[in-house]
């Protein structure tokens, strides 16, 4: 089992969700987040005062999948979230020790 964390551009969320449904992903958690990577922030001017925008709005997806689906899932996210411009985001894959479905007490991949 792996946890896939993807940080993407907010307007790409629908496309990514659809791409994931197509490969059979049945659940995900989505959070609105702010941050920056190599894209960094930029400066803006409002009413004459200049300020730096350090943190840009992004969407974070968290999906737990069985090992054999990891490559396929990551590929689907990368493909559907790509614009080719800076700021497209990142995908991280981390191991998951255990999963429990609260309602039924199921454990492991059965709970995902």
């Amino acid at each position: 089992m792996k946890l896939i964390i993807a940080i993407i551009k907010p307007f790409k969320l629908e496309e990514v969700k659809e791409a994931l449904s197509e490969i059979g992903i049945e659940g995900m958690t989505v959070t609105e987040v702010k941050g920056f990577g190599r894209q960094k922030g930029h400066t803006e001017i409002y009413r004459g005062s200049e300020y730096t925008v350090d943190f840009l709005p992004k969407v974070k997806l968290e999906i737990v999948v069985p090992d054999e689906l990891v490559a396929k899932t990551a590929e689907a996210i990368v493909k559907s979230a790509k614009t080719g411009k800076i700021g497209d985001g990142k995908v991280f894959v981390v191991p998951v020790e255990e999963a429990i479905r609260i309602r039924t007490d199921e454990r492991g991949e059965a709970a995902v």
């Binding site: 551009k9 907010p10 307007f11 629908e14 803006e44 409002y46 614009t83």
Partner: protein, 448 residues
């Protein structure tokens, strides 16, 4: 405009004829004493402010509450931009094209009042012998501001600001000013009060010019621009029914200026319009809410608000022409017909009229124009005696409706294509997803 203008016109002409017996010069008409009635002027200035209040912030909040939070400012900006742009156009050419007469045409006015030249404290007897010309012109300006702002509802959340401004500017010149002249101009060809008009239709406060013209244009524009990203797949629900309700209340209050002010005097006609406006709005709000409760299980705030606006729209052309029972009947129709337009017709035809500008204003305005022809009562308003006795008023109304629809649809189609070619109608889908507030206006509605 309205019954009053014809009456005052007759009075002035009669007075002029009387004076000329004493062999005064031929322009004795101008010498007829025109005194400002302070009561009338006070009410009309109040009404003028009330009608502006309908747009800023009434309609802006009504629409603003109905969009998603990322687009709330775009609606406010569009309403503010329209208020500025239309006022400048009105000053330059608009008032003259609508209420001038130097072209001698029933379709469009003239050049004599351009830059509001000579429009000041002295009344213009053609339209209002007892209130200053300046008050009359400003009162009419507020109608010109709210009309294009109504269209914004159909294309909300997905039209570029530059496209909205360009569209509205051209739409005023090609659709609104001519329409206002046709229906309200002293020699307008659809002004039933003018002896030489072709179509003897009546419109008390703007059912055709304001609501039909904006509503049908809204339908055409929303078909041209296409549905919002995510339409039919995602929930595009309103972000604040509280703002929407606040805006609705302001619209209702402001509408007293719109309807009762259209009597152009603080007289009995104004009171009749005031009463009928109340009856229709309250009836429609109640009926819409109950319909929802019976058919869907919930009487929603959006339902009540839509009922209020529907009732106000449909009573507008009939406000001082029908009896109180007529107003209640109008209120019932004003809920039932638009209710099915926005729940059934819109779903059936699958167009994305985001905030129901067509469903409420287009359908309601058309319904109002027709019901005015059927329910107009000489007992309620004796000035209607000739028209009602002549019969066939509803047929004249249908003709006026036909002309209005053609002008609005063809005008909007041409302007829409032009705007699309010059600046494009829509932002990129990235911008649309992000919301128009940040990208088009550089601000956010809510900082939490």
């Amino acid at each position: 405009m309205k019954s009053r203008s014809a009456k005052t016109l007759r009075t002035i002409l009669a007075a002029a004829a009387g004076v000329s017996l004493f062999s005064l010069p031929a322009w004795a008409e101008e010498a007829a004493p025109l005194t400002v009635d302070s009561g009338n002027n006070a009410w009309l200035m109040t009404s003028t402010a009330l009608v502006l209040f309908m747009t800023l912030p009434g309609l802006a909040l009504f629409y603003g509450g109905l969009v998603r939070s990322k687009n709330v400012l775009s609606v406010l900006a569009q309403c503010l931009g329209i208020a500025g742009l239309v006022t400048l156009l009105w000053w330059g050419v608009g008032y003259s094209l609508a209420f001038g007469s130097s072209f001698g045409s029933g379709l469009v006015g003239g050049t004599e009042f351009m830059t509001l030249k000579g429009v000041a404290g002295v009344p213009n007897p053609t339209y209002s012998a007892t209130i200053p010309h300046a008050t009359f012109s400003m009162f009419q300006l507020m109608f010109a501001i709210i009309t294009p702002a109504l269209i914004v509802g159909a294309v909300a959340e997905r039209m570029k600001f530059s496209a909205v401004m360009l569209f509205v500017g051209l739409w005023m010149l090609i659709v609104y000013f001519p329409m206002a002249h046709m229906v309200w101009g002293s020699n307008g060809f659809m002004n039933g009060w003018s002896a030489d008009s072709t179509i003897k239709a009546i419109d008390f406060a703007g059912g055709t010019v304001v609501h039909m013209a904006s509503g049908w244009s809204a339908l055409v524009l929303c078909l041209m621009i296409g549905p919002r990203v995510g339409f039919g797949k995602e929930k595009l629900a309103p972000h604040s029914m509280v703002l929407c309700m606040v805006g609705t209340g302001m619209l209702w209050v402001g509408w007293y200026g719109f309807n009762a002010g259209s009597a152009l005097a603080a007289d009995g006609l104004a009171s009749l319009a005031f009463m009928n406006t109340t009856l229709a709005a309250a009836t429609a709000a109640f009926v819409w809410g109950m319909l929802e409760k019976m058919l869907r299980g919930h009487a929603s705030i959006l339902g009540f608000c839509s009922g209020v606006v529907g009732g106000l729209v449909v009573i507008t052309p009939a406000a001082a022409f029908v009896s109180t029972s007529g107003a209640v009947i109008i209120g019932v129709f004003a809920a039932v017909v638009p209710y099915f337009a926005v729940t059934w017709l819109k779903a059936k035809l699958k167009y994305d009229d985001a905030l129901d500008a067509f469903g409420v204003h287009g359908v309601g305005g058309t319904l109002g124009a027709l019901l005015t022809g059927i329910l107009a009562s000489k007992e309620a308003n004796p000035a209607l005696t000739d028209m009602v006795d002549r019969g066939g008023l509803w047929l004249e109304q249908v003709k006026a409706m036909g002309v209005t629809i053609v002008v609005a649809v063809v005008g909007t189609l041409l302007i829409g294509l032009l705007v699309k070619a010059i600046v494009g109608l829509r932002p990129t889908s990235e911008v649309e997803r992000q919301g128009l507030d940040i990208s088009e206006h550089g601000e956010e509605g809510y900082m939490l």
